[in-house]
Homo-oligomer: 394 residues x 2
Amino acid sequence: MMEKGISSVEVLPSKSSQVTAVKVVVKEPETKQTQRGKRVGFVLVHAGAGYHSESKAKEYKHVCKRACQKAIEKLQAGALATDAVTAALIELEDSPFTNAGMGSNLNLLGEIECDASIMDGKSLNFGAVGALSGFSLAAFKRNKRKLELAEKVETDLIQLKKRRQSNEKGSRVMCRMCGRRSKASGGNTGGGQIKLYSLENDSGTLDTVGAVVVDQEGNVAAAVSSGGLALKHPGRVGQAALYGCGCWAENTGAHTPYSTAVSTSGCGEHLVRTILARECSCALQTEDAHQALLETMQNKFIGSPFLANEDGVLGGVIVLRSCRCSAEPELSQEKPTLLVEFLWSHTTESMCVGYMSAQDGKAKTHISRLPPGAVAGQSVAIEGGVCRLESPES
Amino acid sequence: MMEKGISSVEVLPSKSSQVTAVKVVVKEPETKQTQRGKRVGFVLVHAGAGYHSESKAKEYKHVCKRACQKAIEKLQAGALATDAVTAALIELEDSPFTNAGMGSNLNLLGEIECDASIMDGKSLNFGAVGALSGFSLAAFKRNKRKLELAEKVETDLIQLKKRRQSNEKGSRVMCRMCGRRSKASGGNTGGGQIKLYSLENDSGTLDTVGAVVVDQEGNVAAAVSSGGLALKHPGRVGQAALYGCGCWAENTGAHTPYSTAVSTSGCGEHLVRTILARECSCALQTEDAHQALLETMQNKFIGSPFLANEDGVLGGVIVLRSCRCSAEPELSQEKPTLLVEFLWSHTTESMCVGYMSAQDGKAKTHISRLPPGAVAGQSVAIEGGVCRLESPES
């Protein structure tokens, strides 16, 4: 069992000079450590890459904090990564402030249809549901929520109609993913469909949720859950249900020196076409995690030939990678540690994240934002840290 | 416009000595050419990787031939690759001998649910449907077919029940994918689910269909359509609906010297976990197409760490890649040609394919089989050829 923990968070500096906008938050090394549990592990969650208003910042952070705590409670009780990541997801889904589970956006028929998936890095098993309209256990809560939102949808549709009429006069709308105001794109099927640009409001139900976890044994797991686009066509399935696109987890193996876990958020079409979760996982096998993620977001996401016709490429990822190594050279004879590098990166206006290790007293939460002047869909924000966790003594 | 066509088919020899079983059919160079059209283009179709009985060989080949002809008619009329690939798919789906469209397997409720997708190599656009139960135009034909099959399903369920009872006594069943007899795997949800090993019969409705096309302009397109596993759970979605798994098409670009198109068939779970269509497309950017495909099937499919726990890995692919080049060194000053390399490879007992160029009088069809003694799920068969098509004179 672990006797004491050493935890630190440090900046992973960018080596690139080609970054349109990179915002790196320098985190002070953690010196206060609370020995709450005797097991190690780490969780990183997100409440979406999109646009998070300042007025709702407290709520977004609060749900991320609770989700981290749920996952850590599981890890402290000896659960594996998949159980911990599930506990975090349930907490995130049950919030009315997130676009997942009970807070999901409604489709054109005023119904909730959810996408979600989970991947276990140990077995490499993957499970997903798409356009799911019948969570048996959550049905009551969801239906209650639907009743509350029914009136709102009707109002939205009226606003949408007005918006589309005014678009024809050249007016501008706000993108729900990035907060950017620009000319509205027309529906691409002619039947009232809106693809990316949506209603000019701030309903608070914008964002996909997800989590990545590493447990005491070094296993990783990832999960993602989404209510999809507001007023989407019934049956539309987004990245959260699709293999390689919404989440990815892969334990270290013969050809993979690091265990990696990834969860994505943003415009489903962009995340699917770039198979972004798996792409990030592959990139994270190179030495410099920060640089690898940055280059992936720039070259494989914003610069992807599969998105060449898009005005902006909107998404975000949380990633972690871990490996067993000695904590410090001078301590290498003492205890092996689990080195956890964690990062988040987004091209959207903002992304809300939370993270916590089993040795922390409470979760840290943060709303990452593009720097002033940076253009959402064309710029990359990237931040992260390192957490060293002592493995249990053998 | 093209004045005359030069077409040849030749063997691409294997360089690997690690192949468990490679069967290469030496194709004689085509010398008889029929000038049916003034446009160039090529189509390769499949009626599934699985087990094709000798007794139904004629029907399988016939539907492949008709599908090729439909695609070539489109190309000769000046259609782009996406239109031609669609025409081939419609023909394949409309056959009662294929497991797609009207011939689809039925799920546990006795209903048809189809997966299908198409990708355009020029725009890189991708469209898919999963577990679709309501093709509006095909509804009549499908419902008629359902009525005919309703009695069969009831019989199947009775046989399944008997089979599961006898499995408990250690009996062996035949795998529908490969024809192999082995101990039956138990259902993994306890509710009557069968995953891979199914009924010991030969219903003739085993196989996914697909097609790949290159048109006169060098654009590629790929498509796939499937009725899924027999007696699958309602709502189950397989590779044919999933990005990167069922089909892939990508025109030549800055980082891709070749245009590539891929369509897959086989065990959906195996094809999804390996994202096989995209994996093949990436591999085909290296010089030796035959070797690249063989190594992909061996290392990224049979040898995939994502399928490490599987007894056998069952699937097949058809691929083509094309590039513009001079036909022969001594003719290089005359006309550029479209070099089309086409291959099929499978780990299943058999795979039915057909192919045709716009200059051919009729399609060639073939049921490729593993050599005697080769073990389905563990061995790779690979065959292919080269077709040189003169581009229209400038």
